[in-house]
């Protein structure tokens, strides 16, 4: 493991971070699939409003860690506190409605319902709210949900496409609809699992910029995984690098240099 020795500026960075409230506090979690150890003694703290990139080679445990954070995966040891909701080891995966209400999730592929309109897909973001049967389609949704969904589509510059079916949109546009769905409830935490991986470089760049801008504008904590080191450096305040299920390196994005990158992906 490469040692990171903070200099004076970086020490101030960490002091400032520690003084803020923690959005995510991961204490010593481990996770195993059968004989394969996926995560080993992970300790991570992410402050509210921080933008963090989670990087690492395939199989490093990035996606599993994200799923553990929102209670989608049961982990074997340790404890997680996401937005104040405590998740304990071997705790059955519960609905955790309150937590999911405060977290926006964006997947590698957009994971939208292709045959429905962009607006209906954004209205799906209200699932888990009271009367969620009305979130099936925008035709049934209350006025306030429709209005918020339209505003959210406006934030991703797709208000004019609100009635267009998602399977008629480009990959980049569909991913922007997915971001609008994740942002529609004004989440305190936005989690994105390789959001630009299925897009061409230009569309990927647009998506990452949009993420960064929206999270800064709304003071949302942003945690995303990526294989693109340039994206991680440009659109995050801090990088957490995972290698074989362990934290390999963590520190300010600007300090992640090509040598570290080579060591991480060797």
């Amino acid at each position: 493991m490469a040692d990171f020795v903070p200099n004076e500026i970086d020490a101030r960075f960490f002091r400032e971070r520690a003084s803020k409230h923690l959005a995510i506090n991961v204490s010593g979690i481990s996770k195993r699939y059968g004989a394969k150890q996926i995560l080993t003694d992970i300790n991570i703290q992410i402050s509210e409003g921080e933008r963090v990139a989670l990087i690492g080679p395939n199989g490093a445990g990035k996606s599993t860690l994200l799923k553990c954070l929102v209670g989608q995966e049961i982990f074997d040891h340790g404890e997680i506190a996401t937005l104040g909701t405590s998740l304990r080891a071997k705790q059955p995966v519960a609905l955790l409605k309150n937590l999911r209400r405060s977290v926006g999730f964006v997947f590698q592929t957009h994971s939208l319902v292709g045959r429905l309109s962009a607006l209906s897909n954004v209205v799906h973001g209200f699932m888990g709210e009271r009367g969620s049967w009305r979130a099936s389609t925008h035709h049934l949704a209350p006025y306030s949900w429709r209005l918020k969904a339209l505003r959210s589509l406006g934030d991703v510059q797709l208000q004019d496409f609100c009635e267009q079916r998602v399977d008629e949109l480009s990959g980049g546009q569909a991913q922007r609809v997915a971001i609008a769905r994740a942002m529609v409830r004004d989440p305190r935490l936005l989690i994105a699992d390789e959001p630009s991986a299925s897009l061409d470089p230009a569309a990927g760049e647009d998506i990452m910029k949009l993420f960064s801008d929206l999270s800064q504008k709304n003071q949302t904590t942003l945690l995303f995984t990526t294989h693109d080191i340039q994206h991680a450096r440009s659109y995050s305040d801090r990088i957490i690098a995972l290698q074989q299920g362990k934290v390999f390196w963590t520190g300010p994005s600007n300090l992640f240099d090509p040598d570290l990158s080579a060591a991480l992906f060797r």
């Binding site: 409605k97 999911r100 592929t109 994971s111 319902v113 292709g114 045959r115 888990g128 969620s132 389609t137």
Partner: protein, 266 residues
């Protein structure tokens, strides 16, 4: 010019001894069936004068105003049996498909019980169901409608379940992550994605129901089949030919309509 390749695959694959025995057995079954029950050219030749005689007695079809008027209302009843039976059958097939679909059913492994019921509905021929319902609820259109309901349930129950199973798992996963429950997943992701398949299957079920409803009367389950049986039993061949003509027109019209609707949907 390149050299001759070292190995050229054989045109016909090698057949093992077990496959050879199976092929011979299948051939023997086909030949024995044809020998036992297929019409010989002599039987066909002998039947031609009788067919000509029958056609002579059937033509021209009975076009008397009173008869046509009476048949019109019987045809309407036949259509009603088909439409009501199909509609109720489709309505009942939706929850049945939900309970029997793999990965969606809330019954887990017990979904096979529902599958078994659907298979039972499908494998017993409609005329047998009609006989059962005529014995249960008496002669007439109600027995015919119940037959169509069961027949549609067997057909749509299976294909709806397959359509549900084939939907994109990513969209379902996304709705679950947002906080949606099982009902939200079905109404927001599964039904919209499976809709073209559901409509196509339903239209095909309607076509089948129209064809079935015209023959159900042969065993007393209402509709125009009952009139056809009476016409043949009383040697009223001109009436019979008029009824056959009406059945042809109604089935063709329905097939044209469903084809047009299917194209619209796709």
């Amino acid at each position: 010019m390149s050299k001759k390749p070292k190995y050229v695959p054989k045109r016909t694959p090698k057949i093992g001894s077990f496959s050879f025995v199976c092929l011979v057995a299948i051939g023997a079954i086909i030949l024995s069936s044809i020998g036992d029950v297929a019409p010989s050219p002599q039987r066909i030749f002998e039947g031609i004068p009788r067919l000509t005689n029958l056609l002579g007695r059937m033509l021209p079809p009975n076009m008397e105003e009173e008869f046509i008027f009476r048949m019109f209302w019987v045809l309407i009843e036949t259509m009603e049996i088909a439409i009501a039976g199909t509609f109720i059958g489709i309505f009942l097939s939706l929850p049945i498909a939900w309970f029997s679909a793999k990965g969606i059913s809330p019954l887990g492994p017990f979904r096979w019980l529902i599958r078994g019921v659907v298979s039972l509905c499908r494998t017993i021929p409609d005329l047998v169901w009609a006989l059962i319902f005529v014995s249960t609820v008496g002669l007439g259109a109600v027995a015919g409608t119940m037959t169509i309901v069961v027949d549609t349930l067997g057909f749509c129950g299976r294909f709806f379940a397959e359509a549900f199973e084939d939907t994109d798992p990513k969209a379902k996963q996304a709705i679950r992550t947002i906080g949606g429950n099982q009902w939200n997943i079905i109404s927001s992701a599964i039904i919209p994605e499976a809709m073209p398949s559901l409509i196509n299957t339903s239209l095909y079920a309607l076509e089948r129901a129209i064809r079935s409803s015209v023959v159900l009367g042969l065993v007393g389950a209402g509709g125009i089949g009952q009139e056809l049986k009476v016409a043949f039993d009383l040697f009223q061949y001109k009436n019979a030919s008029a009824i056959i003509l009406a059945i042809f027109v109604i089935v063709m019209a329905m097939e044209t309509l469903t084809d047009w609707l299917r194209k619209k949907v796709s």
